[in-house]
């Protein structure tokens, strides 16, 4: 992850070209990894003795669910930066992350409920984790709509930053929901402390997919940030110069 560079290149003019150069690499990595992940999950990984083929959804579901939470935390992080040092770039990063986060949240919900039908015999159950994931989707939507609801850029950034920071508390709720309430939903099967309880190929598949999703996220976010920069710094000299060069 090129996270370190955010700080070195934390001024839009410096960051813009860098981002431009990084995008192709991340995109390529994303394509390859996701392809590999899909291959592993559908051809390498063994059929589950009790769940049959349906379980293969897990390879989409779990990484998507992870991303949905990671991205929110990251978004909150950037929001904190933008409030603290009112760094323009961090604000842009935060707002660029939101749509992707929402996408993965939706994916987790979708795959989840697709999976739920065979497993629980219902598309949807009022389970703490499912609900809190749904709420995470609401939070993303809230964040996006709050930004679009305010005309003044500066205010929009700062307000939605506070929003994101307050909302971050929902993430632990999602994660630990399975522990706090006895729910239908699986508990964490991967944990830092104990050895993973699932087959290694499954684990591998999930991890590859997860990394693939990360690459995708970074690529997309960089593209979005470039657009945001161009749109916001229209007037700035360096943009004009660049236009000149093209």
């Amino acid at each position: 992850m090129s996270k370190i560079n955010w700080f070195k290149y934390s001024s839009p003019p410096a960051f813009f070209p860098l981002a431009g150069r990084m995008i192709p690499w991340f995109s390529a990595a994303a394509v390859l990894l996701i392809a590999a992940g899909l291959y592993i999950s559908f051809f390498v990984a063994p059929t589950d003795f009790q769940q049959g083929e349906a379980y293969r959804i897990i390879f989409l579901h779990v990484p998507a669910a992870w991303m949905s939470m990671f991205i929110y935390v990251l978004m909150a992080g950037y929001s904190a930066l933008s409030l603290g040092f009112n760094a323009r770039l961090s604000a842009m990063m935060a707002s660029a992350l939101a749509p992707t986060g929402a996408l993965f949240t939706f994916l987790a919900l979708l795959t989840g409920s697709l999976w739920g039908k065979p497993m629980w015999g219902a598309w949807w159950v009022w389970d703490a984790r499912l609900t809190s994931e749904l709420i995470l989707l609401f939070l993303y939507i809230g964040y996006i709509s709050l930004q679009s609801a305010i005309d003044d850029r500066r205010r929009a950034d700062r307000t939605s930053a506070v929003f994101a920071l307050v909302g971050v508390i929902n993430v632990p709720i999602i994660y630990f929901s399975v522990r706090w309430w006895n729910t239908l939903h699986q508990g964490a099967t991967i944990s830092m402390t104990k050895a993973p309880a699932m087959a290694h190929t499954m684990l591998l598949g999930m991890l590859v997919m997860a990394v693939g999703f990360w690459m995708y996220t970074i690529a997309v976010v960089l593209m979005r940030v470039r657009c945001v920069i161009l749109e916001r710094e229209r007037e700035a000299g360096w943009v004009q110069d660049m236009r000149g060069m093209e």
Partner: protein, 224 residues
């Protein structure tokens, strides 16, 4: 004049206003009662089922009516320019916010706590459940007001703040709801209510410490 007496007069003023708009305040309480009382009508009145749903119904009703009253927290003062005067008052903004949030709870939270036992009787809950219910509301409603203050401040003067407040505030309300109602159901099922109650208590402590700061920040941004 020291900050403290500004603080007091601010609190007194909010309560005075509430007293003048008594009907306006009543509407929140009224809403709570209605929401709770309509259910037996809609659901049909088998005591067993009613008793089962009672805690949930009452808690949801409390949650909704608080959410409705959030509009009143800052919006009115924003429209007529009083809020600007508050930012210009020589007391730290955070004190102002604490005063207004406290007033909000006294006006639209406390009454619910007081009414809960009566409604509990309607759903014929046992004395013990009613006690737990009341305690859970006593601990829970301030959390609702505190978290609400952030939402209200964030969406101040924003186009259609209404839904945004709901969007922001709800996710944070839900745990309170689950544990609050959970505590009652637990004690009904003979399990201890402590776990749930102490969790709500913890939330109260946390939100009491952090919410005012978040709200203050949001308010400053909103009035720029």
């Amino acid at each position: 004049m020291n900050g403290q007496s500004i603080w007091l007069s601010l609190l007194r003023r909010d309560l005075l206003l509430a007293a003048r708009r008594s009907a306006d305040v009543a509407s929140v309480i009224f809403f709570f009662v209605i929401a709770a009382s309509l259910f037996p009508l809609g659901v049909g009145a088998e005591p067993a089922m009613l008793r089962a749903v009672a805690p949930g119904v009452l808690w949801v009703a409390a949650l909704l009516s608080t959410m409705l009253s959030l509009g009143r927290l800052f919006a009115a003062d924003h429209l007529d320019g009083t809020l600007e005067q508050m930012l210009l008052s020589p007391q730290p903004l955070i004190m102002t916010i604490i005063a207004k949030t406290l007033a909000h709870w006294l006006i639209s939270g406390l009454p619910l706590v007081v009414l809960a036992p009566v409604l509990g009787l309607q759903f014929d809950l046992s004395g013990r459940e009613i006690l737990v219910l009341t305690v859970s509301l006593l601990l829970g409603t301030p959390v609702l007001s505190l978290i609400g203050s952030i939402g209200a401040a964030l969406t101040l003067g924003v186009r259609g703040g209404g839904v945004l407040v709901a969007l922001l505030v709800l996710p944070l309300y839900i745990p309170v709801l689950i544990f609050g109602a959970g505590a009652v159901t637990a004690s009904a099922a003979g399990l201890g209510a402590q776990a749930g109650l102490s969790l709500v208590g913890a939330m109260l402590a946390v939100s009491a410490v952090f919410a005012p700061y978040a709200a203050a920040a949001a308010l400053r941004i909103a009035l720029e």
